[in-house]
């Protein structure tokens, strides 16, 4: 899901860039040295996974997984999604150079919203909460991206209001599929490798608690 070049007006494009630079600067500052290769490697998994097409009746949609990025990477989802979008622009020409800002706000914002929903699971004590909140996070990722997309179209001009409605409606099946896939993926990760999920208690952040334990001595040896 992305918006192409040549549609949005200059103020919207500029707002997208300003927003992206601000959020990216903040989130990139949160990254440690060992996050750089990790976040990039995981970004490439999402990049590859978004090439998977899932059939809907006679046609098919590709997975977006913006919500899952939030569930796995937490706040680092934003720079990860930005990387994905820049790469997509360079490699496929999808989207375009001028809409990198808007597209990052759209999908990266969705990732952050998904993370917020995902974190709510700590307040509930129910069975299969990873599956339920993973699913909600997956749906939230698409939902908030769809809203940003619609808003950027509407603020460009009133002639795009109908287009905005069509895109919002077109996102409903995508939302359902993402919810199912992200939900079962979160449940799978919770069972197999809980460290891989973001915001796990009690050792909250860090990609993997075990990794931090094993790489620490190496870190201390290396001169800074």
């Amino acid at each position: 899901m992305h918006i192409s070049d040549g549609i949005l007006s200059a103020p919207v494009l500029i707002a997208g860039f300003i927003g992206t630079v601000a959020v990216a600067a903040y989130t990139l500052r949160q990254l440690d040295l060992d996050d750089i290769p990790k976040v990039s490697v995981i970004t490439s998994v999402f990049f590859v996974a978004s090439l998977i097409h899932v059939p809907i009746g006679p046609s098919s949609v590709h997975l977006i997984l913006g919500g899952l990025v939030g569930v796995v990477l937490g706040i680092r989802a934003f720079p990860a999604i930005m990387l994905g979008i820049i790469l997509q622009t360079i490699l496929f020409g999808h989207g375009g150079v001028t809409v990198i800002g808007v597209n990052t706000m759209m999908l990266g914002g969705g990732g952050l919203m998904a993370y917020a929903v995902w974190q709510l699971r700590h307040h509930f004590n129910i069975k299969k909460k990873e599956m339920i909140f993973g699913g909600l996070a997956g749906a939230m990722g698409i939902f908030s991206s769809g809203i940003v997309l619609a808003l950027s179209l509407v603020t460009t001009g009133e002639e795009f209001i109908a287009t905005a409605w069509y895109t919002l409606i077109a996102h409903i099946p995508v939302m359902i599929i993402e919810a199912l896939v992200v939900g079962s993926c979160a449940a799978f990760l919770a069972k197999v490798k809980p460290d891989a999920l973001a915001g796990q208690l009690p050792l909250a952040p860090a990609v993997t608690a075990t990794a931090a334990a094993t790489t620490k001595p190496l870190n201390e040896d290396s001169p800074k």
Partner: protein, 262 residues
Amino acid sequence: MPLDIDRFAKLESPLQRWDPRIKLFTLGIFVFSVALLKTLPIACVAFFLAVGILRLSNLPYDFVASSVKWVIFFLLPFFIIMPLSYPGEAAFYVIGLPFAWEGLQLATLIFIKAVAIILTTFSMFGTARFDVSMIALQHLKCPKILVQMLLFTYRYTFVFIEEMRRMQIAMRARGFVMKTNLKTMQVMGNFVGTLLIRSFERSERVYKAMLSKGYQGELHTMVKFKSEQQDYIKSALVLVTAVIILALDFSGLFLPAKQSWF
């Protein structure tokens, strides 16, 4: 869709010889000026300029077309949605829906600009090795951390595509067929989860290997850039053209696409 955008970086042409730093800067400005265009005739001029620049690069037609056809496919709905949903006077009615010429103009403008920009993207990134382009970006004040992450992500994309293909073959060998049902979604969720866990473990090995080779947050490269007079002449030509088309576009000689044809 070709993932290795730099497959033809070794071809000999004025674009490949262009200093990547100056090339990315100049064509970047060109792309932004195309994105700001509001009139159809000037957008057409920009489109032919983009085609001209791409022709100079000697990139094979098939290579470019395989990506561009997808972009065109995604843009086609605009030709249906825009004319039928444009607020204003309807020229005639199609099965009860108002059809406005202004909407069709707007769709055409969007289409031409988008294709022109994508063709230019190929001229920008298809004419130098990917790592060289990225290091050029770093010279253009792109944050170091971003450039490093882009290089890593690009590198590992190919690894994981292979990994995914192997896993898909294994799934098919066990008789899995994708359908529109809950089971498929569940299996796909587990599939992505497995891919993630493998990548986590791989990223740990990668990081340790990097540390043992002395990684401290800096990438050292042997790429050296050299800019000559020719590079600046090319750049000046493109920039002057970009300014001229923008000036013509804003001059009011042509009416914006929303108002009438010309």
